[in-house]
Each structure stands twice: as C-alpha cells, then as structure tokens.
Amino acid sequence: MADGAALRVIYIIGAIYGLLVLATAAISVIRWRAPNNDTKELSERVTSWWFMITVFAIAILTDRVVSTIFLGFVAFMALKEYLSLIPTRRVDRLIVLFAYLAIPAQFIFAHNNRYGLFLTFIPVWMFLFFPMAMTLAGRTEGFLKAVGTLSWGMMITVFALSHTAILLASGQAAGPAGGAGLLLFLVALTQLNDVAQFTWGKLFGQRKITPTVSPNKTWEGFLGGLATTGAVAAVAGPFLTPLGVLMSAAAGVMIAIAGFLGDVTISAFKRDLGVKDSGGLIPGHGGILDRVDSLTYSAPVFYHFMHFFVFSGRIT
C-alpha cells in the first residue's frame, strides 16, 4: 500500500474511533443522568465495537495477506455458525468438511484476483459437487433438504463474504486509497447503515416494513438509514474511492438497500429455525452471522457495482 493511501485509511479509522468515543461518552451520560435505565446491552454492544473495529483496523492495515486470511476466517466462522444452527445428516459429515475446505480455495482465488475462478468455484463447481457427493454417499432420505441447505449456506456465507477479499485485490490500483480504502468504504458504510437504521427506527419508527420477519424494522428507520448512509458515502467516497460525489452517494444508497435486505434475509433464516441470535460470540450483538448479515448482501452488490463501473474501465 502506498503511504498516501494508507494515510487516508488511517484518517477514516481515526474518525470511526472518534464516533466510538462519542458513543461511549453518551452511554456514560445516560448512566449518570438516569442510573435506573438498563444500558447493559447497549454498553456491551459499544464495547464489542471497540474490539471489532480494532481487529478490523489491524487486519486491513498490516498486509493484504493478513487481511485476506482475516476475511476468510470471518467467512469460516459464519459458515460454522450456519452449519451448527441447521439440521444436518450424519452421512454428510465429510461433505461438510469439504465445504470448509472450499473456503481457503475461494479466498486464494479472491486474493489473486482470478475473477473467472472466483465467480465459478462455488456457484458452479461446489454447486455440482455437493449433490454428486451426497448421491454417491447413497442416502436419499432428506437429500433435497441437505443439498439445498448446504448450497445456500455456502453462497450466503462463503461466496458472498469472499467478495470483500476480491474487492481488496481488484482495488489495488483503484482510487486514492487502494483496495483497503474500498473495503473500508464498504464495511464502514454497511455497519453505519445498521446503526443509523436502528437509531432512526428507535426515534421515529412507526410503520413496520417487514412485520412477520423483523418486527422492529420500520420504514422510518430504513429511509433514515438510507439517507444517512448516502450522505456519508457522498463525503467519504471521493476520499476513499475513485468515485465522484454522485456515484459515491449512489453506491451508499445501494449499500444501504442491500444491507437492509441482507439483515432481513438472515432474520428470516433465524426465525425459521426459532433462534433469536445466531450465536454468542460477540457480547451485545449475538453471533458472527448477526454482525455480518448485512454484509452478505452489500459485499457482492458493491463489488459488482465497482466491477461494472471501475474495474472494467468504464469510469477511470
């Protein structure tokens, strides 16, 4: 990473830490003014943010190999959480092991920016491999459910999240802050959109947007988050990416919409299984899937947006 590019990433991470300091201070003020309010979950959440942002910052600032391994590990934890939540068949144990082994392969393709292999490995090759292996294992009872759940899980966790790693690789020479700048833009805006949606929804939420899936989501929260994310993107985009103000805002709006859809999709999955959180890894947040749910949609959408406009040379 060129020094100037790294510096831009560091500035933005500094700004994020500034927001965290504000959030931590706000919680202290709430505690002091209204000691009876239950702030345990909120303060746990903010403490976890400190931790997650620090890990993420170290991962993207050290070296691209470290970054890719970190992103692959997140995908591994997401897949593991998914496979631990769904019913599986004992006969498929080895096939599940192959699903895990596909993660390093997928992230190596991403790291080396092998666009064709990256795009086909899971949606074509693993898609064909899972049912074949299950057929050869010989048990037809529950076949469709097993192959369906495993394939979808691979797509929503490993394939979707691996877009973060290829974004890092493709973006090497793109824009003033390189691949790390693009990744930071994507991840920070996705998470900001979650927080903004939550906050706008808490303050002004009236009309439920998906009453049966996620009853806490409201139109007010969704639109407030969308406006916030779009506005922040318009400012941060020209600083971190090769996009101009308008295109940056458009990318921000797409990230907001995709993030919302990812969030409610994972909610539908959890609701079907009758669990509230996907795990207990991150205090105040739940599991890793609860944290990257929005990213499962926003990462592919933003990567392919960038691929269409920037990496393919339509915007230089």
Partner: protein, 211 residues
C-alpha cells in the same frame, strides 16, 4: 515434568482447537465450581466432552480436575493408558460391577478436594442422543452427602467428533452449566432430580440432532 506437559497440552492443543476450530458457547459459566470437592455430571457424546469441560477451568485448576473414565476402554493399551492417566488425569473405573468397591477411588479423590467429572450415561453412545443415566452417581452422592453436584449439559461435540469417527469436522458446541444440588436421602429422587436438571439445561440450548 508431566505436570508441565499436561498444562502445555491444554494450553497449546486443546484450547486453540476449541477456540479456533470448534467454538464453544458457554451458558451459566458462573455456576461451575470454583473449588473442590465437587462432582460435575454431564451427558456424553464425544471424546471432546471431557477436554471441553476441562478447558472451561483456569489452567491452575487443572491438577484438581479428574474425569472418571472407563478402565476397559482407556487402559486397553499402554500408550493410551499413559496419555489418559497422566495428561488427561483420569480416574479409571471398571464398568459392569466387577470392582469390589468401585467408589473408593472417587471418594479418595473427593477427600483430596478434587473436582470429579462424571458421565453417568456410561458411554458416548449414539451422538446427541441422551440415554438414561446409570445410578452409580447417586451412590457416590449418598456416600458424600456434603459434596455439591453440578449438572452440565453439552451439545454439538457429538457432531464434531462422534463415536466411531477419527475426523474432526468443525461445529459450534454449547455448554450449559446449572446450579449445584446435594444428596437428599433417596436414590430414585436423586436420579429424578438429575434428569430434570439436565432437561432444563437442554432447553436452554438450540439442539439440532442429526437427521
């Protein structure tokens, strides 16, 4: 020397595997005993059950943790016996009532303020399917009425490493620890209490058995 090996095994092998490859969700960690004597009673699905339970304790507690394990299985060859006795620190127990006073070793360990880990199902059995607890644990509680009994329910390790498999496949596992209870004067009542505690703990965990 062996003590150091034991600590190294847990610090450098068991804990990293549990942390990175498996992932353990613990509920009710504060319920686990802080010191011996204590009897931990858990359901049994996998060899990993013992290691996972032991890894929930700080390393300095390690010398006090004594899993009770089947003599016929763990002492069947020299290498396994050395590993089981020295590194895991098991107290061997003869299955099927062939020992004169099978509880003597266990009581001696409790007198030394050890924390016993018992799997009253007697065998790992079919993974993630609980079988009835054997009553030996009730007789141990009867002999040591002042020793607290800690129920622990474990789920998921039977998927990661079930009986009959040598290949570890990553799955998250859940451990739910309950508050202790004591012997109350009747074997049947003790067993009923224990089963009820396990049922309550298993409800806390989102268990998805094999299909």
């Amino acid at each position: 020397m062996i003590k150091i090996l034991r600590i190294l095994f847990f610090a450098l092998v068991v804990r990293p595997i549990l942390l990175i490859i498996l992932g353990v969700n613990v509920r009710g960690r504060e319920n686990l005993p802080k010191k011996g004597p204590a009897i931990i009673v858990a359901n049994h699905n996998s060899h990993l059950d013992t290691l996972t339970l032991m890894a929930l304790f700080p390393l300095r507690r390690l010398p006090r943790l004594r899993p009770v394990a089947a003599m016929d299985y763990f002492l069947k060859n020299k290498a396994l016996a050395w590993f089981a006795l020295n590194i895991i620190g098991i107290i061997p127990l003869a299955r099927g009532g062939v020992q004169k006073n099978p509880l003597a070793n266990l009581q001696a360990a409790l007198d030394e303020e050890d924390i016993l880990i018992l799997f009253p199902e007697g065998s790992r059995g079919a993974p993630e399917q609980r079988t009835d607890f054997k009553r030996g644990v009730a007789f141990l509680a009867k002999a040591q009425p002042k020793t607290p009994v800690f129920p622990v329910y474990m789920y998921g390790l039977g998927k990661a490493l079930p009986k009959g498999s040598l290949i570890l496949v990553p799955f998250n596992c859940d451990v739910a620890a309950g508050a202790p209870f004591w012997w109350e004067g009747d074997v049947a009542a003790f067993m009923a209490r224990l089963e009820a505690e396990m049922d309550t703990l298993s409800d806390v965990v989102n268990a998805q058995p094999w299909e």
